[in-house]
C-alpha cells in the first residue's frame, strides 16, 4: 500500500462493520425469531403458514385489500412519473432551459415538506375529490406523485445530464424525425436507466407510505398492517419483513440498472 494512503486499516474497517452490522442486523434477526415462535418456547413456521389458513382469512382480509390497493397505487404513481413528470422534464430541458432552475426548485420542494403538513393541506382537497371523483384508494396516487417527485426528479435528471439531450434531439430532428418519434424512439431509450430507477423508487415509496393514507382514511398496505396488528402482531411483522426484502431486491435492481447505464456511457 502506498505511504500516502488514507484508507482505513483493515482492523478499523472490520470493527466498524461489526458494530454497525450488529446494530442493523440484530433487530432484524430478533424479528425473524419473533415470527418463528410457536407457543412459549418452541419455534416453527406456524405463523407463516397461517397467512394462507382459510379459517383466518377473514381476519387477514384487510391486508389483502390493502395490498391490492397499494399495487394499484404503485401503477398509477409510476404512470404519473413516466407520463407526466418525465415528458415535462424532457420538454423543459429541450425547449425551456431557462426554466430548469425553477423546475428543480419545485421538484425538490417536497423534501422540505413533511408528509404530515401535506396532509393538513390535502384534507380539504380530498374532500372535493371524494365528492367528484370518488373515494377510491387510487386517488391517493396524485399525492404520492408529489412525495415521490424529488427522488424521481433526481434519477431522471441524472440520466438527462449524462446523455446531452439537446444534441441527441437535434440530431434526430435533422434526420427528419417528428417530435413524437424523437421522444419515443430516441430520448426514452437513452433515458431508460433514469426512468427505471425513478419507477422503482416510486414503487418502494408507495409500498411504505402510511401517513397520508392513514389520515385521509384510505386503506393501503400500511394502514392494513396497523389494523391487523391489533389482533395478530405476527402477521403484520411477517408482512413487514417481506416488504423490506422486496424493497431490498428492488434497490439491488436499481444498482444493477445504474451500473448498466454507467457502462453504456463508457461506450
Amino acid at each position: 500500500m502506498s505511504q500516502a494512503s488514507f484508507y482505513p486499516h483493515p482492523a478499523v474497517r472490520t470493527a466498524i462493520a461489526v458494530v454497525v452490522g450488529a446494530f442493523v442486523l440484530l433487530p432484524l434477526a430478533a424479528t425473524v425469531e419473533f415470527t418463528l415462535r410457536d407457543g412459549d418456547t418452541g419455534h416453527s413456521f406456524v405463523h407463516w403458514a397461517a397467512i394462507f389458513d382459510p379459517t383466518k382469512a377473514a381476519a387477514y382480509k384487510p391486508i389483502w385489500v390493502g395490498l391490492t390497493n397499494s399495487l394499484t397505487l404503485m401503477l398509477v404513481t409510476v404512470a404519473v412519473v413516466l407520463f407526466l413528470l418525465a415528458p415535462t422534464m424532457i420538454l423543459v430541458n429541450l425547449r425551456f432551459p431557462k426554466l430548469r432552475r425553477t423546475f428543480e426548485f419545485v421538484a425538490l420542494l417536497p423534501v422540505s415538506l413533511p408528509a404530515i403538513v401535506l396532509v393538513v393541506g390535502l384534507t380539504p382537497i380530498y374532500l372535493v375529490i371524494g365528492r367528484t371523483v370518488g373515494t377510491g384508494a387510487w386517488t391517493l396516487a396524485f399525492a404520492y406523485g408529489i412525495t415521490v417527485l424529488p427522488f424521481a426528479y433526481r434519477s431522471i435528471q441524472a440520466s438527462i445530464d449524462a446523455v446531452n439531450l439537446v444534441t441527441l434531439a437535434e440530431a434526430a430532428r435533422s434526420l427528419g424525425a417528428g417530435w413524437l418519434t424523437v421522444v419515443r424512439r430516441v430520448l426514452a431509450p437513452n433515458l431508460r436507466g433514469g426512468l427505471m430507477a425513478a419507477s422503482l423508487i416510486a414503487v418502494a415509496v408507495v409500498l411504505g407510505e402510511f401517513t397520508i393514507a392513514s389520515l385521509l382514511n384510505r386503506q393501503n398496505l400500511q394502514t392494513a398492517l396497523v389494523l391487523v396488528n391489533r389482533q395478530d402482531s405476527y402477521v403484520s411483522v411477517i408482512f413487514s419483513l417481506m416488504a423490506l426484502l422486496f424493497c431490498f431486491v428492488l434497490l439491488l435492481l436499481i444498482g444493477r440498472t445504474g451500473s448498466i447505464g454507467a457502462r453504456g456511457k463508457d461506450r
Binding site: 432484524l28 407526466l84 418502494a204
Partner: protein, 305 residues
C-alpha cells in the same frame, strides 16, 4: 451550472434556426406541453402548502383569527416542538457520526465490489424504512415479549422496570437512528469519495504527516458536507410521522403527533384549526433548516468541483 449556461446558446440557436412559420405555430404548443404538469403541481403541491399555512388563520366559522398562532406559544405546544427538536438533533448527530464511520470503512472498496452494491442497496432500503414496519420490527426485537428482554431477565435485568419507555419518547431514539444512519451513508459517501489521493501525496511531499492530512486538509474539506448531511438528517427526523404514530401509544410528545391529534379530535387546547398553525410552525422550522442546508451545500459543491 457551467454546462447549463453553455448549453443555453445551443438551444437558442436551434430555436432561432427553424423557419419562422412552423416556429410561430409550434411555440404555443410547446408552452401548452407544460400545462398538465404545472396544473398537477399547483393542485397537489402548491395549493396544499398554501392551505396548510392559511387554515391556521381562520376559525371554524371562517373568520380571520390569529388565535391559533398564539397557541404556538402555549407551553404544551412549545414542549412538543422542543421534544421534536432534541429528538431530531440527537438522532441526526448519532446517525451522522455512525454513518460517516461506515462511509470511511467503505473507502477504497471499488464501486463494482459486491460489498459495495449490497451496502448501497441496504442503505437505500433502510433509509426509506422509517415507518409503521420499522415500529413493528422494534417492538418484535426489543418489546416486552422479545428475545432481548427474555435474555436480559435471565441475567436479572428488567429492561422495563422503570417505565414503558419503548412506547414513549425515548423509544423513538433507536428506531430513528435506524433510518438516519443509512440516510447518512447515502448522502455523505460521495463527499468522502471526492477526497483526492493527490491531496494526501501533496501533503507528504510538503512535509506534512497523516495527522496534518486529516486535521488541515480532509476534515476542513469534509466539514461543509458533513454539516449539510446533518441538517438533512435533522429535517428527516423532524418530519417523520409513521414510526411514532405506530409506536407511541399514548400522548402526543412530538409535533407530527400533535398535528394528528388536532386533525382527528378537532379540538386540542380548546382550539379549532390548530393543525394549520402547527403545520405552519413545522414549515417554518423546515424552511430554516433547508435554507441553511442549501447555503452549506453550495459551498461544499464549490470545493468538490
Amino acid at each position: 451550472m457551467t454546462t447549463f449556461s453553455q448549453r443555453m446558446p445551443l438551444v437558442a440557436e436551434s430555436v432561432g434556426g427553424d423557419s419562422p412559420r412552423p416556429r410561430a405555430r409550434r411555440l404555443p404548443a410547446a408552452h401548452l406541453g407544460l400545462v398538465p404538469f404545472a396544473g398537477y403541481v399547483a393542485i397537489f403541491l402548491v395549493l396544499p402548502t398554501v392551505l396548510a399555512v392559511i387554515t391556521g388563520l381562520f376559525d371554524k366559522a371562517g373568520h380571520l383569527t390569529i388565535d391559533n398562532f398564539t397557541a404556538l406559544g402555549d407551553p404544551v405546544i412549545l414542549e412538543t416542538f422542543w421534544n421534536s427538536t432534541w429528538l431530531s438533533a440527537l438522532t441526526a448527530a448519532v446517525g451522522a457520526v455512525a454513518g460517516a464511520a461506515v462511509c470511511y470503512a467503505l473507502l477504497g472498496i471499488p464501486a463494482q465490489h459486491p460489498i459495495r452494491s449490497t451496502v448501497d442497496a441496504l442503505a437505500g432500503v433502510l433509509a426509506q424504512f422509517g415507518g409503521v414496519m420499522l415500529a413493528f420490527v422494534f417492538i418484535a426485537a426489543m418489546g416486552r415479549s422479545s428475545v432481548l428482554v427474555h435474555w436480559l431477565s435471565g441475567l436479572g435485568i428488567d429492561l422495563y422496570a422503570s417505565s414503558n419507555w419503548l412506547y414513549e419518547l425515548p423509544g423513538l431514539i433507536l428506531p430513528y437512528v435506524y433510518f438516519q444512519l443509512p440516510l447518512m451513508v447515502i448522502t455523505f459517501a460521495p463527499a468522502l469519495e471526492a477526497i483526492k489521493p493527490q491531496w494526501a501525496e501533496a501533503n507528504l511531499t510538503l512535509g506534512g504527516n497523516r495527522w496534518t492530512f486529516w486535521r488541515r486538509i480532509a476534515l476542513p474539506v469534509l466539514a461543509p458536507s458533513f454539516a449539510a448531511s446533518f441538517l438533512l438528517l435533522f429535517a428527516n427526523s423532524f418530519s417523520a410521522y409513521a414510526t411514532a404514530a405506530a409506536l407511541a401509544s399514548q400522548g402526543s410528545q412530538i409535533v407530527p403527533l400533535q398535528i394528528r391529534a388536532a386533525l382527528t379530535s378537532e379540538t386540542v387546547l380548546g382550539r379549532e384549526n390548530l393543525a394549520g398553525a402547527l403545520a405552519f410552525g413545522m414549515i417554518a422550522v423546515m424552511a430554516l433548516v433547508m435554507t441553511c442546508y442549501a447555503l452549506i451545500q453550495r459551498r461544499a459543491e464549490r470545493w468538490r468541483a
